[in-house]
Each structure stands twice: as C-alpha cells, then as structure tokens.
Subunit: 352 residues, 2 copies
C-alpha cells in the first residue's frame, strides 16, 4: 500500500507533515510518500534527524512537486493552473494508481475541487462530502457533511445518509447504523425548509435504500453513543464540528487550570493523573484523525488545517485503515448495484 | 419587584417549578408569583413541605390559571384560545404591571408568540430573539438567536447585534462588547448566502449604530473569552446551543467514569475533589439560567424545557438581576433615540 501525503499543505507545513510521516512510518505497513519540494524535504529531514531520508526507512519516499497551493488561492484556478503543485501531483498519483490514499491539510476548497475534478465522483452521488469522525459516549459519531457543501438540497442529504450507512457498516462493523438528521427538535415539523424536506425524503426512501433512519436528532443527543451518524448541510455541519472543537479546547483549559491553580492543588492532582489521562484519551478528537472525503472514486483524507506532527501521525495511521477496509471500493460496488437496479426498473417500466 | 413564574410549563412541571420557587424565595428580594392551577400548587406544597404556602414566605404567591398550554399545541392557536392558561395569564400580568418579569419553561413557540402578541415588540425591532448566555473562558458568551427565528434575513442579524451590544453593556458593564458573526471561516467570502449578506450589512452599519463588529467567528474561537456575543439565525444558533449542551453532558459523564472506574481510582480521586468542583462550577451552564427574549417591551425569560428545581432556582435569581439592571427599559430608550434620529434625518432630507 502507498500513502501519499501532501508535504506542503497545512498551517505547520512542511515541518509537522515531515515529522508526522517519520513518526508514523514504523506504525504502518504502507509506504509513505511525501509530495512536495524535494530539496526542502531532504534538508529538513537532515536538520531534524541528522540523517538522510533513506536512512530513516526504506518505506519513506519523496515525490517532487515544485509548486504549492496557498490558503488564499481560488480553488478551481489553483487546481487548473498549478499543475506541479503538491496537491495536483498527489491527486494524479492517486488517479494513476501510484498511491492508494491521498492526505492533505491544505486549502480545503482546492482539495474538494481537486478530488472531484481529478479523481472523479462515484456514479450515483451528486455531491461528495466531508465525513468527520468525532468521539461519542463509548463510541464514535460520523458527521456528514462536515463542511464541503455550504448549500445543499434534500437529495444530497439522502445520499450522505446512504454513504454513511455503507461506510460505517464496512469500517466499524455495525450492520444497521443509526442515521439521524441534525435538527433543532425531534418533531417532524421542526427546522428550516431544507431539514423539513430532507426529513420527508429520508422517511420515504430509507427502507428502499437500506438506511436505518432514526429521525431528527438534536445536538444534545448527538454524543449519547446511540446515533452512529448525523447528516446535515455543510454549513451547519461545519458549525457543529467547530463548536465541538471550541468547547473541547475550553474544557481542557478550564480543567487544567482547576487542577493547576496552586502548588497544593497540583500536588493533590497527582493521584488522579491516570483518571485524567483516561479522560483525555477518551475525549481527544485527534485520535480520530482527519475527515474522509466520501463520494469520490479513491480514498481522500482531509487532515486538520492546524495539524501538528502528532495529528499527522494519527491521520496517516487512520488512512491506512481506511484503505485496508476497502470502504471506497465497497461504496462503488453498492452504488453500482443500486444504479443497475434503477436502470433495470426503468427498462421494465418502459417495456410495460 | 414581582417575578411571575409559569408553574405549569416544562418537562418537570409543576413539581420542579414549585420547588425551584421555594428554594429561590430566600435568595431574592422580589415576590415570586406561581401562575397555574391553585388547588394543585397548594396540595403539592403541602405534600413537599408539610406546610401551607403562606407559611413558607409572605413573598410567595399564587395566581390561579385553570388551563395549560401543552407542548403539542400550535403556538398561535394556543395563545389565542387558551385565555386562562398559565402562560397567557402570566403575559397579561406582565402587560398590566402586575409583574416585572415572566419566566416560563413551556412550549417555546407559544412563549415567543405570546411575548410578541401580548407584550409587544420594541419599535425598531422586526424580530425579537432568544439570547442564551453560555460559559466561556473566564467570561461568558451571549448567543443570539438561540432558537426563535428559524429563517432570518440580514436585517434581523443586524438588529440582534444592536440588541446584544445594549444588553451586554448594561448587564456586564462592557462598554464596547465584541460582536461576532457565526461562520465557518473568518474570511469575508466564507459561508452561506445569509451570512455573506449579513457580513456586508454589519460592516456597513456597525459604526453608525455603535456596534463593535469583529467580523466572522468560528465555533472553535467562540469560547475563547475574547468574543462577547455571536449573532446567527435561530436554526444555526439552536444547533450551536444544543451541541454545546450535548458535548457538555458527554464530558461530564466521561470525566465521572474516568474517576469512578474502580475502587482505587475512586480513592485516588478524593484529593482532587476541590479541583473537580471548581471545574464543574466553571463549566455548568445551569448557573447562567434561562435564555432572555430580547426585543419585547418587558422582560421575558425562557427557562430550559427540562429545567429541574435547581435550574428554576437559578433562573429566578437571574431574572431578578435582569429586572434590576433595567436592561429592557434601556433597550427601549436606545431604540427610541435611534428612531427619532432616523425620523429627524428623514424630515431634513424631505425639507432639502
């Protein structure tokens, strides 16, 4: 297996990307290929580790790419014109089977545009979407769309529900994952127009499409562990994701300060350090890695823009699992079956 | 001062409402008037405390109301037809100066309809909105609209910014509160259509209206303590609020389990109990009471639907402060000044 990592994308690139790849290399079986300016990557590795890249691992590689897509670049223009950027080169490797998964922490818009234009959508999916994995009570929660489609239609939300069902079944082994619609109340009549119409469509189509639709879900019940995925538009989903992140940071800071208030509280905290560690581990969104871009023909992982070396390491490990589970291949298969079923029905209808 | 409490509204009514009022009565200077079925309230008090209502406090009163608005009731119909419901009677007391603030944990839609129809909007405000107060790092965060207007226009968000500025200045003593627009990125070009247009309008009008508009704010920065209020539509705001709540519950449960995992971790946790208590207090959204309904002519407080007796107690104490600060009177004054200034300008323009 070959994991392709955009070495130049993200707030802490290329240092964090390179260090994350080096840290991960002995925890994965795959090759890790850093895409970016070869001379810079080589000199950084020498600086950080006092060794040549080849001395670190025979599975650590470089693919040279001379350009970089910046955060300020307009997505479509950048993808079309910066042909030798780390992102475009990475996507081409994916397309030409020189890589099995592509990870980037760079410009989100460009990543989504590139995935759609250069790798291509799965037939039957109008809008691919970012799926984030969040911690939940003794479980995890898949959030789709976590931020790629700011304006959505009900059909998009239905397809998000289909994709999450297939993904969760194949990755977490949950046969009938519970899919909820993010709303501000559990009643059918609640919400804005998009949510009301999506509710109707999901209710109507869920049996036919094998979706275990559990109805509207409020944010207050999202982390209960009873819901496996929540579907929503990319604006609301991104607000949800970032609110979770913001509150998480605030909790951590406040908890630390409560324990570190003075020398006495610091000493008193020592016996409970294992419990605190257990708590941190359970809560840490980082251990869930990046967000998956579902609906394209190959595995694409969006790493957090502010990824540090630890987060890159986690994301690489998760990406390997993503490929091992063949989640994307299975998704293509299931949608193909669905498409041919539809085509058959259409043919039969026309013949009647 | 007279605090009017809907005794029949909320998931735990009337028990939690009555107990909350009894708990609060010695912590406030005001009279607390329970509105609801007198015979039930009297017999509950006898059951809980073995005393008559009059024996508990001379400041604890009842106003009889024979009907109740249920959660399933259609707001407008309920307000128009259930004329002897605890909610309608409560609003009438407010209107006729038999009460200074009305608190209800009942049907949100009915509460908002009642406040607008029976108490009336402040001139210059098109849509009153719920303002929730959340904990933030060494500070607090006002969230408006927390859930009353599912579909909003840019002008509504501008007015929410005006109202929060006036409210925060008068309540928390922050002369130029920092007002942010909830978005999925900090750049001007980010977000859905509503947010993009609202950004433009806020930027254009903020100086004239004395709003310290700090631009787009992401959920991840909302709790940093640097932002005093975030404005958003009622759908997104409610998702934000409930996500915060859901994650808070999850954090609490996980933290408790980490410390209570086994007998050893329980013993080891003892020395750090003060730190844990400090943390809980800092985080507890309950101590911030209910949400304020800003933009109507009298103080109206929406208590949490699932309020327990402790939360009712907090909400009553907070409601007293809300009245003492004269936040609503000051808001009426400021909008009147603004309206007469506008009228004058219009007159001058016409004369030119």
């Amino acid at each position: 297996m070959k994991i392709v990592l955009d070495a130049m994308g993200g707030d802490n690139a290329p240092d964090a990307n390179i260090k994350g790849a080096v840290n991960a290399i002995n925890k994965v079986k795959a090759e890790v290929i850093l895409v970016g300016k070869e001379d810079i990557i080589r000199s950084k590795i020498k600086e950080f580790y006092g060794k040549e890249l080849e001395q670190i691992s025979s599975r650590l590689k470089i693919k040279n790419a001379t350009e970089t897509i910046e955060m300020e670049d307009t997505p479509t223009i950048a993808i079309k014109h910066k042909k030798d950027s780390s992102m475009v080169v990475g996507f081409k490797m994916l397309k030409e089977d020189e890589g099995d998964v592509f990870i980037s922490a760079g410009n989100s818009g460009a990543l989504l545009t590139g995935a759609t234009l250069l790798v291509g959508r799965i037939k039957g999916i109008d809008r691919p979407a970012l799926a984030g994995i969040l911690p939940a009570y003794h479980s995890q929660l898949l959030l789709i769309d976590a931020g790629s489609n700011t304006n959505c239609k009900p059909i998009n939300l239905l397809q998000f529900a289909q994709m999450s069902t297939i993904y969760i079944r194949n990755t977490f082994g949950i046969e009938h994952p519970a899919i909820g619609l993010l709303n501000i109340g559990t009643e059918e009549t609640k919400g804005n127009d998009l949510v009301k119409e999506s509710y109707k469509l999901l209710k109507e189509k869920s049996e036919e499409l094998g979706i275990n639709f559990v109805g509207n879900v409020e944010g207050r019940d999202a982390f209960s562990g009873k819901i496996d995925a929540i579907v929503t538009d990319g604006f609301t989903g991104n607000v949800f994701l970032k609110t979770t992140e913001g509150l998480g940071k605030f909790v951590k800071k406040t908890l630390t300060e409560s324990f570190m208030k003075n020398i006495i509280s610091k000493i008193l905290a020592v016996p409970s350090l294992p419990a605190l560690k257990r708590f941190s581990k359970e809560m840490d969104y980082k251990s869930y890695g990046g967000a998956l871009f579902l609906g394209v023909k190959k595995p694409v992982v969006k790493a957090h823009g502010s990824s540090d070396e630890l987060l890159f390491e986690y994301t690489i490990i998760q990406a390997e699992k993503f490929v091992e589970n063949k989640a994307v291949d299975k998704m293509i298969d299931e949608f193909e079956k669905l498409n041919s079923k539809k085509a058959e029905e259409k043919l039969q209808n026309n013949m009647q």
